[in-house]
């Protein structure tokens, strides 16, 4: 029996008159690579936003390792162990790659301004640890040679990889990837698939949003499908691929129905 890491219970998200999510139930098991797919506007990024505390759901529960996420401040959610990347790359462009990643690694340091002013032993220790972790993660994502370069000057693929490194630096249990393969060519997608597997093998759990079906089929253990804010399928990739409701959501009703 796999352990449930993240659970969304009856999540409804309304913005004024628009219902973005309608009684959505989702869960992610520890150690799996789960995927969230659906046509554009189905509410996938909204799910990420609800899970990370960007939006407060209109109703419903979000539980992470049996703790409620709803109502917590965003940085607290990250501390709990959820990290994410973004559909449109949101790096700290004016900072170097290393600085980007170390900012994420800082989340587990206890010392702050006072420690920095006085140079306390703990502050120095944590600083060294954070920098080392930063370099390790850059190396892990194949970005060590970019450490001193500004985020905004990196090539596109490296920027996407840097975002992942930064998220990993916060040492999460659950990693949310929002369209990590967007703009990648086939070779890069293959490399990305391998990287995501490597991340899972290192002990992280991954939930990703993606549009590239072959990538999804290749690496996911389980696929959930959203359409117009509702979940319409949640099963192994092969099953979901052949589900008529899913096909209809993406392609419209079959031609002979008219």
């Amino acid at each position: 029996m796999s352990e449930i890491l993240l659970e969304l219970k009856n999540i409804t998200m309304k913005f004024g008159g628009v219902t973005a999510l309608n009684e959505v139930n989702l869960h992610v098991n520890k150690g799996e690579i789960a995927a969230l797919i659906g046509p554009n506007g189905a509410g996938k990024t909204t799910v990420f936003n609800v899970v990370t505390g960007v939006y407060k759901p209109t109703s419903g529960e979000v539980n992470f390792v049996n703790q409620s996420v709803v109502g917590k401040k965003r940085y607290q959610v990250t501390k709990m162990g959820i990290a994410r990347t973004f559909q449109n790359i949101r790096l700290f462009g004016e900072s170097t790659a290393l600085e980007n990643v170390v900012t994420g690694a800082d989340v587990h340091s206890k010392s702050g301004v006072v420690g920095a002013i006085f140079g306390t032993p703990r502050s120095r220790r944590e600083e060294k640890a954070a920098l080392e972790r930063g370099m390790e993660l850059l190396a892990f994502m194949g970005l060590k040679h970019r450490a001193g370069q500004l985020g905004k000057n990196l090539p596109y693929g490296d920027q996407r990889r840097l975002e992942i490194a930064r998220a990993l630096a916060t040492n999460p249990q659950l990693l949310l990837l929002d369209e990590p393969a967007a703009g990648f060519n086939p070779a890069e997608k293959v490399a990305l698939a391998a990287t995501i597997r490597k991340i899972r093998d290192a002990g992280y759990t991954v939930l990703l949003i993606e549009h590239d079906m072959s990538l999804i089929m290749d690496i996911s253990d389980r696929v959930a499908v959203l359409d117009f804010g509702q979940k319409i399928a949640d099963d192994a990739p092969k099953v979901v691929q052949n589900d008529p409701r899913v096909i209809e959501a993406y392609l419209g009703a079959p031609a002979d129905a008219s």
Binding site: T52, V54, K73, R74, Y75, V77, T78, K79, A83, R84, F86, R90, F92, G93, E94, S95, L98, E99, V102, T103, G104, D106, V107, S109, S111, G112, V113, A116, I117, G119, S123, E126, E127, K128, A130, L131, E132, M135, E136, L137, L138, A139, F140, K144, A147, G148, Q149, L150, N153, R166, A167, L168, T170, A202, G203
Partner: protein
């Protein structure tokens, strides 16, 4: 948007030279640099003499004071990206602390200094905690209001002098034969310089570590910073508090030199002037800000006809700088190469992540 063609970047070249230098060179350069500034009041060169006012006095105020305050405001506006238009309020709190305690109690300057700093910091917390959640433009207006309210309160409360202010503020006690009198600004200048060097040292330390990274993240993308685990409110309040402390200290020293203060000295224009120094020097860039403040404070004293429309010139400078050279006269570091002195991680192989 095509940028201008490659410009000789003074800052990068200076930084590179510094980094390539062995330790002995760095130390001797620093010492000579610092010694130069301590010796500055004795400089008597027609090129820098200020007609109309005493050079040594000008070094203390406005040059030294503006530099100090610009460094303080730089933490708030430059590093953290928080537009504070009421910075003068903290300066006023420091000055009034010196004035009130100096005239009503037997405490001397050195004893009042930490009190003034503490009061400014507390004000920073009180103002910051509710308002730093607000978005940039709203924060600007609210801090503007705070600055004005402090002034209005000072004008309207007779107990702290009302519109006539407070006079008869005592000078600091002698330090190693150096007398603090209104006739000789040099000891004041040296105290200010020492304090400024201390602040510079402190700011550079903090900026290189976690708080600096947090502020950079907040400035660039507050929402994402939070999602990366940064407690943005806490660090924003800290930036505010540190900036307030610097201004408060400056205020205490200022009051003990000028010996009488009136509320109208602490008006919006001062906040704007300090902001102009930060902007002119290059938002976020410590050395740029120092250079910018020194230039902006010194030039109207040197070129007298600029002195009257000084504020007009500053205002125009703000618009021009933002439109033509938003990075300031010494833009932030653009270095691409990695610091070669940093050796902690092995060069070979893939790292692990656990």
């Amino acid at each position: 948007m095509a940028d201008k063609k490659f410009r000789y970047n003074l800052r990068d070249h200076a930084a590179e030279y510094w980094e390539r230098s062995p330790k002995w060179r760095r130390v001797s350069l620093s010492i000579s640099f610092i010694a130069f500034f301590y010796a500055l009041p004795f400089l008597n060169n027609p090129l820098i003499n200020t007609p109309g006012s005493d050079f040594q006095s000008v070094l203390f105020y406005p040059v030294g004071m503006y530099v100090l305050m610009a460094i303080g405001l730089n933490i708030v506006v430059g590093k953290s990206g928080l537009l504070d238009l009421g910075y003068v309020a903290f300066f006023a709190i420091g000055a009034y602390t010196m004035a009130i305690l100096g005239t009503h109690t037997s405490l001397n300057f050195w004893e009042i200094l930490p009190i003034g700093i503490a009061l400014s910091m507390v004000s920073g917390v009180l103002l910051g905690t509710p308002t730093l959640r607000l978005r940039g433009d709203y924060l600007a207006i609210v801090t503007l209001g705070f600055g004005e309210i402090v002034r209005i309160v000072a004008v309207n409360i007779e107990a702290i002098g009302g519109p006539r202010g407070i006079a008869g503020i005592p000078t600091p006690p002698d330090v190693f034969k150096a007398k603090f009198t209104i006739l000789d600004p040099k000891p004041y200048y040296w105290v200010l310089l020492t304090f400024t060097l201390l602040i510079i040292w402190m700011v550079r330390r903090i900026a290189a570590r976690r708080p600096g990274r947090a502020w950079d993240a907040i400035r660039q993308d507050d929402d994402v910073a939070q999602l990366m685990g940064v407690n943005t409110l806490k660090y924003k309040v800290w930036a505010f508090v540190l900036g307030a402390a610097v201004a408060g200290a400056g205020g205490v020293l200022y009051a003990s030199q000028i010996l009488s203060i009136v509320p109208d000295q602490f008006n919006l224009n001062v906040s704007i002037l300090i902001l102009a120094c930060v902007v002119f020097g290059g938002i976020g860039n410590l050395w740029g800000v120092i250079l910018g403040a020194a230039l902006l404070a010194f030039t109207p004293e040197r070129i007298r006809f600029l002195s009257q429309p000084r504020i007009l010139v500053f205002g125009i400078a703000l618009v021009v700088m933002m439109n033509l050279r938003p990075d300031g006269i010494l833009p932030k570091k653009k270095r691409e190469h990695f610091d070669p002195n940093w050796h902690t991680v092995e060069e070979s192989g893939e790292g692990s992540i656990k």
